[in-house]
């Protein structure tokens, strides 16, 4: 799906992934975490790659094959510092006190926590964030 870069459209990506997973995953917490990762990735692209320019778009592709879920979020804006992905504790939850807690910067941390593997590549003016999650048999509908 292709979504114009408007933050009030981020929920469309959330609804899409939720719809795809509704009949596949029975664990509602897992569905929430995947929706969270997708929404964080889409809003990151809109804000940081395209500066919320509504003339630009973000593409979301969802591939679900057997136990493998792959979601790609693609934009054509400014690339982000992929080194952030190497540090899963880029927002250190241990450091959380009211005074010290940063107001923002939790998006990448949440994506990394929600998904099994997160990769980012930037080439030919396209930036692609690829998120993978293995769906366990116990997460699926109708299976023991």
């Amino acid at each position: 799906m292709t979504i114009p870069c408007r933050l009030d459209h981020v929920h469309l990506a959330g609804h899409a992934i939720k719809g795809v997973l509704a009949e596949t995953i029975k664990d509602s917490e897992l569905v929430f975490l995947i929706e969270l990762a997708v929404c964080e990735a889409v809003s990151n692209s809109m804000q940081h790659a395209h500066g919320c320019n509504a003339d630009c778009n973000v593409e979301v592709s969802i591939f679900l094959c057997n136990s493998e879920l792959v979601i790609e979020v693609t934009d054509t804006g400014a690339p982000f510092n992929a080194d952030l992905l190497k540090n899963k504790q880029c927002h250190d939850p241990e450091d959380a006190t009211c005074e010290k807690a940063a107001e923002g910067g939790r998006g990448i941390f949440l994506i990394c926590r929600a998904m099994d593997e997160v990769k980012y590549k930037s080439f030919a003016d396209r930036n692609i964030l690829t998120m993978r999650k293995t769906i366990k048999p116990t997460d699926r509908d109708g299976e023991p």
């Binding site: 933050l7 929920h11 959330g14 509602s28 917490e29 939850p93 939790r106």
Partner: protein
């Protein structure tokens, strides 16, 4: 962003009437909350029972509200559902940052002690 507000003594009870608190509406929510604080409502309980989905932008708006009140008053949360609770626990903002209560009664009791 629709927010239902009412007063319980000196405390302001604010209930966002949306299913989502995300990048799309978090700035509007934050703006409403800052306005309440500027109107001198410094003891606020936020009822999150309608919120089924929250992302880091929603968390940021709540954190901004908390920091704006600062030591002048108190912010407590209640009505936290499973998904929103998971977000708080993943970020550990439920430990030492936000005061989260089981229900309205407990939230208001805590606020009244601080007034």
């Amino acid at each position: 962003m629709d927010i239902e507000t009412r007063y319980e003594g000196s405390a302001l009870l604010a209930k966002p009437l949306e299913k989502r608190l995300d990048a799309g509406n978090a700035p509007a929510f934050k703006s409403h909350m800052v306005n309440y604080i500027l109107e001198d409502h410094l003891h606020i309980a936020i009822d999150l029972s309608e919120i089924e989905f929250m992302d880091s932008s929603g968390l940021s708006a709540l954190l901004s509200t908390l920091k704006t009140i600062g030591s002048r008053g108190k912010l407590v949360l209640f009505g936290v559902g499973r998904n929103v609770g998971k977000l708080f626990s993943l970020t550990r903002l439920d430990r030492g940052v936000f005061e989260i209560h089981e229900d309205k009664h407990s939230a208001l009791q805590s606020l009244n002690k601080a007034i």
